[in-house]
Amino acid sequence: AQRVTQPEKLLSVFKGAPVELKCNYSYSGSPELFWYVQYSRQRLQLLLRHISRESIKGFTADLNKGETSFHLKKPFAQEEDSAMYYCALSGQGLTGGGNKLTFGTGTQLKVEL
C-alpha cells in the first residue's frame, strides 16, 4: 500500500524566514516523489519531483530513503509562496497502466509580512 503523511495542516511563517514542509511516505517498492502546489483559485500544478533534483522557485526537496521522507524546503519565504502544498507518491501501477499518484492531506503555507 502507498501512503503519504503530511503532519501539518497549516504552517505560518514570516516573510524571509526558512520554510520546511514535512512529508513522510510508506511504500514497499521504489517510489517517485513529487510536490504539487495549488495557489488560490488555481489548479494543482507540479512544483518539483525528486528525480529531477532541481530547485523551483527557490524550493528544494531531497528524498531520504532511510527516513522515508521528502521534506520541502526554502531558505527565505516569500509572500507569493502562500498556497496549499501536496506531497505525492507514485508507485507501480498495473502493467500497461499509468502510475497513480497518492497524495498527502496537504499543508497550507501562509507567509505573513
Binding site: 488555481q42 519531483r49 501501477g93 500497461g96 499518484l101
Partner: protein
C-alpha cells in the same frame, strides 16, 4: 500552453440523479485520471485509463461510477445515481507517458448533491 479543461465548473444535482463530468485532456497525452477531493480532505485517486480501458481503480470507484473516452478527445466520468457523499471536487488529469511524466490537472468540477 495546453491545458486540461473540465466542464462544468460547478454542478448541483438531486440525490439519485445521474451526473456526467467532462474533461478534455491535453491532446497528445495517453494516460487519463480522475481524482476527487471532499471538502477538507485529501485528493483521492479514483481511476486511471489507458488504451481505452481502465488500468486501475480505487475502492471508491464502485459500480455507480464509470468512465469513457467516447470520441478521442473527451474523457468523461459518470455517476449513475448520486449520493450525498459524492459531493466533492472532481479533478481530471492526464499525462504523456507512464514513468516520469508530469501529471497535468484540470481546474476541477465541483459537484454538490442535495
Amino acid at each position: 500552453e495546453p491545458e486540461v479543461t473540465q466542464t462544468p465548473s460547478h454542478q448541483v444535482t438531486q440525490m439519485g440523479q445521474e451526473v456526467i463530468l467532462r474533461c478534455v485532456p491535453i491532446s497528445n497525452h495517453l494516460y487519463f485520471y480522475w481524482y476527487r477531493q471532499i471538502l477538507g480532505q485529501k485528493v483521492e485517486f479514483l481511476v486511471s485509463f489507458y488504451n481505452n480501458e481502465i488500468s486501475e481503480k480505487s475502492e471508491i470507484f464502485d459500480d455507480q461510477f464509470s468512465v469513457e473516452r467516447p470520441d478521442g478527445s473527451n474523457f468523461t466520468l459518470k455517476i449513475r445515481s448520486t449520493k450525498l457523499e459524492d459531493s466533492a471536487m472532481y479533478f481530471c488529469a492526464s499525462k504523456f507517458n507512464t514513468n516520469t511524466g508530469e501529471l497535468f490537472f484540470g481546474e476541477g468540477s465541483r459537484l454538490t448533491v442535495l
